[in-house]
């Protein structure tokens, strides 16, 4: 009993401190660092500038292409109406600033400065200037974490816009991804545009993803193509978040970070 008391007198406080520190660290791990992210959002708030749409569309060529796209979209809409095609109504997105990059080298994530208070939820789709960026994997009240499509764990079902050959895409860090085709001899060329396919459960169909940079048809087991992602993932500043009710989310996923096309 005496030795126990002496031990406690010598090491008691220290052990208590170690216990408190360890349990705090455990809480942070279990809450996915929610408190820290909130503090981070508060601290970086003064540096979050307003979005600058003029800069993004300064290019007259871009404007022209956008107008042509609007024209085509409305034509498409009219044709679909004539056919009686029930299309999903286009939803309005929520603009969100990118306030942080990944806190580790092995995951490709960004942190957004909007959270559940602004209507963001897990599973919402994130797009940047140029196309698809990723999806939200965790939300705190004022921040949210996005798993980028350039992360190897995020797999997206995609389609070659020109020839409609399908496959799935795995991220390769930075702004590259690898597309594995389902067909043995796909019709694909350098420069083809890639967009999300209707097979994708986590992402809405028809979002632009990137362009084919090189093709390797001899690759086993499936032909592969390297894709250059069209959104500037390494220097994103603002993104648009679109609500999306994913098919996987409705059936309680075991692992929300993997998109099985």
């Amino acid at each position: 009993m005496y030795t126990l008391r002496r031990w406690w007198d010598r090491y008691g406080i220290r052990m208590l401190l170690v216990g408190v520190t360890l349990s705090t660290a455990w809480v942070v791990r279990e809450t996915q660092g929610a408190a820290i992210l909130e503090v981070y959002q508060g601290m970086t708030r003064p540096f979050q500038g307003a979005p600058n749409p003029e800069e993004q569309i300064a290019n007259a060529r871009v404007l022209e292409l956008q107008q042509r796209l609007v024209e085509l979209e409305s034509q498409n809409q009219k044709l679909q109406d004539l056919l009686g095609y029930a299309s999903a109504s286009s939803q309005k997105g929520i603009a969100a600033p990118v306030i942080g990059r990944s806190a580790d080298h092995w995951w490709q994530q960004v942190t957004l400065g909007r959270g559940s208070k602004d209507g963001l939820q897990v599973g919402h789709v994130v797009a940047g200037p140029g196309g698809l960026v990723g999806r939200i994997t965790s939300v705190t009240s004022r921040t949210s974490r996005v798993l980028l499509i350039s992360d190897p764990t995020s797999r997206v079902g995609v389609v070659v816009s020109r020839s409609r050959y399908t496959g799935y895409m795995r991220g390769q860090a930075a702004n590259r991804a690898v597309l594995e085709f389902f067909d043995k001899v796909p019709d694909v060329r350098r420069g083809d545009v890639i967009s999300t396919s209707t097979f994708s459960q986590l992402f809405p169909a028809g979002m632009p993803v990137g362009r084919v940079e090189s093709v390797n048809l001899n690759k086993s087991p499936a032909p592969e193509a390297v894709i250059e992602l069209s959104s500037p993932i390494s220097y994103l500043e603002w993104v648009i978040v679109y609500p999306h009710q994913s098919a996987a989310a409705q059936s309680a996923p075991a692992n929300p970070e993997v998109d099985v096309p």
Binding site: R29, A254, V258
Partner: protein
């Protein structure tokens, strides 16, 4: 009569002092955590930033016991898991870094503090990335995890790139964390002595 409130606080009592010491230590960890998602110009090499928590663990364990180093690695590893994703865990690599740094008999080999800490951080950063890469490889070979989507070749090519960038950046930024913390702890140690 000079009356510096800070010095008064330092001299007030052992209890207050250790409270202050803990507050400063915790604040420095918090600062490192907040620096993790930041990428200032000059802080980035091929999209990879310095590993602030690793620098902190090295700064902490350089003049401490193996047990203290291991605890620091455990706590900061859990924190980093919270900031990213818990599988594979950062706990293993940071605990290893803490233990090895504490075991290192650096007085025997290198004199200058600054340079030796930068060197230790360089080596430890490579080691930490390797531990993570090994965990990814084991996940892949095990085949049970849903997340094991990278091929072995991909893992180790990526490892080369991140290990080198992370080691260079972390060792260059190491003095920023090490110097003030070391000064603080030395001062506290001197005050503790009767």
């Amino acid at each position: 009569m000079r009356n510096d409130p800070f010095k008064n606080l330092l001299k007030s009592s052992a209890y207050n002092r250790s409270l202050l010491n803990w507050a400063v230590t915790v604040a420095s960890v918090l600062l490192c955590l907040l620096a993790l998602p930041l990428r200032f110009p000059g802080m980035e090499l091929a999209g990879i930033g310095p590993n602030w928590l690793l620098i902190w663990v090295v700064a902490w364990s350089v003049k401490r016991t193996v047990f203290q180093g291991a605890i620091a690695g455990l706590v900061l590893g859990l924190l980093q898991d919270g900031m990213t994703a818990p599988h594979p865990t950062h706990v293993l690599s940071l605990v290893l870094v803490g233990v090895l740094t504490a075991r290192l008999q650096k007085q025997r080999y290198i004199e200058e503090d600054f340079i030796s800490v930068a060197l230790i951080v360089f080596g430890m950063a490579v080691l930490a990335e390797t531990v993570v890469a090994i965990q990814f490889s084991l996940q892949k070979l095990d085949g049970s995890s849903v997340q094991a989507v990278r091929t072995l070749a991909e893992i180790w090519t990526y490892h080369q790139r991140t290990a080198l960038s992370s080691a260079i950046l972390s060792s260059l930024w190491a003095p920023v964390i090490y110097f003030p913390l070391n000064r603080w702890w030395e001062r506290m140690g001197l005050l503790e002595q009767p």
